[in-house]
Symmetry: C2
Subunit: 135 residues, 2 copies
């Protein structure tokens, strides 16, 4: 018996010490041009934690230090490309200025993140991460 399989992605919630949120502007569809959390597809042979570290480095140049699991996001329809489950981490990083790479057209720590519409269900992920930080 074969099962249909989902795509699995990781998303990284990174705040700097001034409470700004690291956001990329997406280069590619879906949501091209919109702000989003850094992240991407998990590769075969890597853990989801390793995928989060790799995607963060590829898209922002920042090196992850600690990862805390925020949640698993799997609502049907959350990704227009099809069935996609995302694992979100709250990530602390090494010092340094972010630099856009890979799928990110721009990347920066934004202080106005509360007002920005984010791609996918990333606003929900950020809300959950903020609740977790407050614990």
């Amino acid at each position: 018996m074969t099962y249909e399989k989902p795509s699995v992605t990781v998303d990284c919630v990174v705040f700097d010490d001034r409470g700004r949120l690291l956001l990329i502007r997406r280069r590619n569809p879906p949501f091209a041009g919109q702000f989003a959390l850094p992240g991407g597809f998990v590769d075969p042979g890597e853990t989801t934690e390793a995928a989060a570290r790799r995607e963060l480095a590829e898209e922002t140049g920042l090196q992850a230090r600690d990862l805390r699991l925020v949640g698993v996001y799997s609502k049907p329809g959350r990704d227009p490309r099809g069935w996609t489950i995302s694992i979100a981490y709250l990530v602390t990083t090494e010092e340094g200025a972010p630099q856009a790479g890979d799928d990110a057209a721009e990347v920066e720590f934004r202080s106005d993140w509360r007002e920005l519409p984010l791609a996918f269900d990333h606003s929900e992920i950020v809300r959950d991460a903020v609740t977790m930080r407050a614990d």
Copy 2:
């Protein structure tokens, strides 16, 4: 560009009020005949939480009440069938005696769970869930 996709499963950690752990004895390979947590593959169109509730009901007859995310388990090689990522939940259930169904040959709350070798990385999942309960 197409990506290779993982299978995604859910696993349920359920303790009764006497601290016994709900375990099934697996009917099918891999690990046929071994003890394991109730769980199974996530279906298209359902959330991972819904999958956990469904699998628990199918395999044990118990209805899930609350779910708390324990972790995401994605170490390469953790499932001999291939690339499989599991989402584990600590679950409270409605009252009732478990009854084996579906992939489970037997199901029961076991007080000797600390001494039993469990299938896959389920011992690691249980350890993490126990740490979480103690918080």
